[in-house]
């Protein structure tokens, strides 16, 4: 079950850390089912799985209120769930069904949901930078105190528009946080081959407060994000988070044979030593917040929710062909 209410401040600490576990597990189990749907040829097209990076979306989104904005990427299911979307309508969208968040018109790379402040995933690398910055502009102009988070992969550091937006955000002190998910790869190319200089300096060059965080440590992500969100909400301007993480699976579901661009050992290191869910689960147990049985029951609860959501989506009808011409214009 995805908890829908979020109050960044004054929230009970225990409830927060357990919810973060739950949210990460929800993303993990959601994505496993996506892969399964793909393997069973039930899903049209491809999808980019967030497995391994769960702490990033969850740590950041738990620092936000429901009405705060996010923009997301081609690897967007995690952001979407972490911001509060319902798995059944997400699966429906992935299958191109009418019941999906976008009536089937968007698919995996374009899920959007005004109710949870999700301005949309984007299939253009760096494509959300303008939208997120614009949402922050609105928030400031209208005085709503909303904060906007722009999620993007480290590959988007290659896109010039990001620098244009960071310049605007810092000049105008906009409440936007640039959340750079550094999972080391741009598709099949290691980021060291595509990124000169220091990643954090790409933001500090504009005078933007920036911090590198262990993206496998959900509490560290949450703490850093909360600090930046608070600053932004207080009118002190943008922030940049460099979230060091790793995607366990292929660039997309079809990217199975990966040896030509990265070593199995590397993958194994991250999955066995740096898994954000395992690490956080161990911490919860060590703290005595929950025991293993408690974690197991969370997992099985979520598993059945996800199974029901998949079933809903698989059985849901496609849109009628006549709908193709709807929603072109508002």
């Amino acid at each position: 079950m995805i908890t829908q209410t979020k109050q960044a401040a004054g929230v009970d600490r225990d409830a927060l850390v357990v919810r973060m576990y739950r949210q990460m597990m929800a993303i993990r189990l959601f994505e496993e089912r996506v892969n399964d749907l793909y393997t069973r040829a039930l899903m049209p097209g491809l999808a980019h799985l967030y497995i391994g990076e769960e702490a990033v979306a969850v740590g950041v989104c738990e620092a936000l209120t429901r009405s705060d904005y996010i923009t997301s990427t081609h690897r967007g299911h995690g952001h979407c769930l972490a911001k509060g979307a319902a798995p059944d309508r997400m699966f429906a969208e992935l299958l191109g069904k009418k019941a999906g968040y976008c009536k089937g018109k968007g698919g995996s790379m374009h899920i959007a949901d005004p109710a949870t402040g999700n301005l949309g995933a984007n299939a253009i690398v760096g494509g959300g930078a303008g939208i997120a910055t614009g949402a922050a502009f609105s928030a400031k102009y209208l005085g709503t105190k909303q904060v906007s988070v722009c999620f993007f992969g480290e590959g988007a550091l290659g896109q010039g528009i990001l620098y244009e937006e960071m310049n605007l955000a810092q000049l105008w002190k906009l409440p936007v946080i640039y959340a750079c998910e550094n999972n080391l790869y741009n598709e099949y190319t290691h980021c060291s081959e595509s990124t000169a200089g220091d990643m954090l300096a790409r933001a500090t060059a504009f005078g933007i407060a920036a911090e590198a965080v262990d993206g496998q440590d959900v509490r560290a992500v949450h703490a850093a994000a909360s600090a930046f969100v608070e600053r932004a909400r207080a009118g002190e301007g943008p922030g940049f988070l460099l979230l060091n993480t790793y995607r366990y699976r292929g660039h997309h579901v079809g990217d199975i044979a990966r040896e030509y661009y990265r070593q199995k050992q590397e993958e194994q290191f991250w999955t066995s030593e740096r898994d954000p869910i395992t690490l956080h689960g161990q911490w919860l147990i060590a703290q005595g917040t929950v025991d293993q049985a408690g974690l197991d029951s969370i997992t099985s609860e979520i598993a059945s929710e996800m199974d029901r959501a998949v079933e809903f989506a698989v059985n849901a009808p496609y849109p009628d062909v006549s709908e193709v011409g709807e929603d072109v214009y508002a």
């Binding site: 976008c102 018109k105 374009h110 303008g130 609105s138 605007l168 072109v328």
Partner: protein, 333 residues
């Protein structure tokens, strides 16, 4: 003559646009203007001069030289409660914002299944003969016209400019609004004070005629009218039709005019090939074929980059004489 309730003044094309913006900004505080040197300088064409004095720098906002950046920001602002108007100083710089306009603004509503909308206006200029050479003279309105999800406005008169700008601002979709640079100060016409709007997708017959239909866009409406006057002298009655918006397109008016006159020429200032004339001529040909005396003819800018040298540049732009000659031949006079 009784005193009119609404006063009508002679305004330039540029003044009409400024008036529309000012009136709309008074009406709706969600409207903000973003662009390079739009505030104190009032744009390089001085079209926005004075707006910052009334609305302040929080609504008339000078940006860095970041067309993709501030256009993208405009998309996000439009999705979240504002009605931004972004200023692309020279339409040639649309090349820099196509991703934000085409992959983002135009598609957000559809991709989100109607969940989000983008009420945004992209103002851009068009038109040559300012001796500004190849990167500051293009008329690129064919590109956004090709993109589902956008609406595209190409006004020719101050009256139309004001009414269409108001419609653009109130529209809940991304609208690309093309302003002819030469017209800013050169074209004058009557403009009513106060509020009126002109619907999109309604062509205007700028001159009635019987023998041939001249379809003109933007500044080419003036060229068509000039040619029509010349044609009148040799006994040819030309009808001048101004589509006013390339999308939505008023196919009916275009087709009916051509059916009536049995001949048509489409004149546009964009590069000739794969431009606006191809679509409009095809629409007319498909709809009026059996009433036509001959093929719909087209005149666009010579299909070359726009040269700097005055005699060369002048040779690229459609002229009254060119339209006149073509029409005369078509009418066998």
């Amino acid at each position: 003559m009784p005193e009119a309730a609404v006063q009508v003044r002679e305004l330039t094309f540029g003044e009409a646009i400024r008036e529309a913006l000012a009136e709309e900004m008074r009406r709706d505080s969600r409207i903000v203007l973003l662009g390079e040197d739009v505030a104190e300088a009032g744009t390089t064409f001085k079209v926005l001069k004075g707006l910052v004095d009334e609305f302040g720098t929080s609504r008339v906002i000078d940006t860095p030289i970041s067309e993709p950046g501030f256009t993208g920001l405009g998309v996000g602002a439009a999705m979240t409660g504002l009605r931004p108007i972004v200023d692309i100083m020279f339409g040639d710089f649309l090349t820099l914002v196509m991703d934000q306009v085409v992959n983002q603004a135009a598609k957000v509503h559809y991709m989100s299944g109607g969940a989000w909308k983008v009420p945004m206006v992209v103002r851009a200029t068009m038109g040559a003969t300012r001796r500004s050479a190849a990167q500051h003279s293009q008329s690129l309105h064919a590109w956004p016209s090709h993109v589902p999800g956008l609406k595209v406005v190409i006004p020719s008169t101050p009256y139309d400019a004001k009414g269409l700008m108001k419609t653009a601002i109130r529209d809940d979709n991304p609208v690309v609004f093309f302003e002819d640079k030469i017209s800013y100060t050169k074209v004058k016409g009557p403009v009513p004070e106060g509020d009126y709007t002109i619907p999109f997708g309604v062509a205007d017959i700028k001159r009635q005629g019987r023998d041939i239909t001249l379809v003109g866009t933007s500044s080419m409406v003036q060229v068509a009218l000039g040619a029509a006057a010349m044609l009148e002298e040799i006994g040819i009655s030309a009808e001048v039709v101004d589509p006013r918006t390339t999308w939505p397109l008023d196919e009916k008016t275009l087709i009916e005019s051509a059916k009536k006159t049995s001949r048509a020429i489409v004149i546009d200032e964009g590069s000739f090939r794969y431009g606006v004339t191809g679509e409009i001529a095809s629409v007319i040909a498909e709809g009026a074929f059996f009433d036509l005396d001959g093929p719909v003819r087209r005149i666009g800018a010579t299909h070359v980059p726009i040269p700097f040298s005055p005699p060369l540049e002048d040779a690229t732009v459609p002229t009254e004489r060119q339209v006149f000659e073509m029409a005369r031949t078509m009418c066998n006079k």
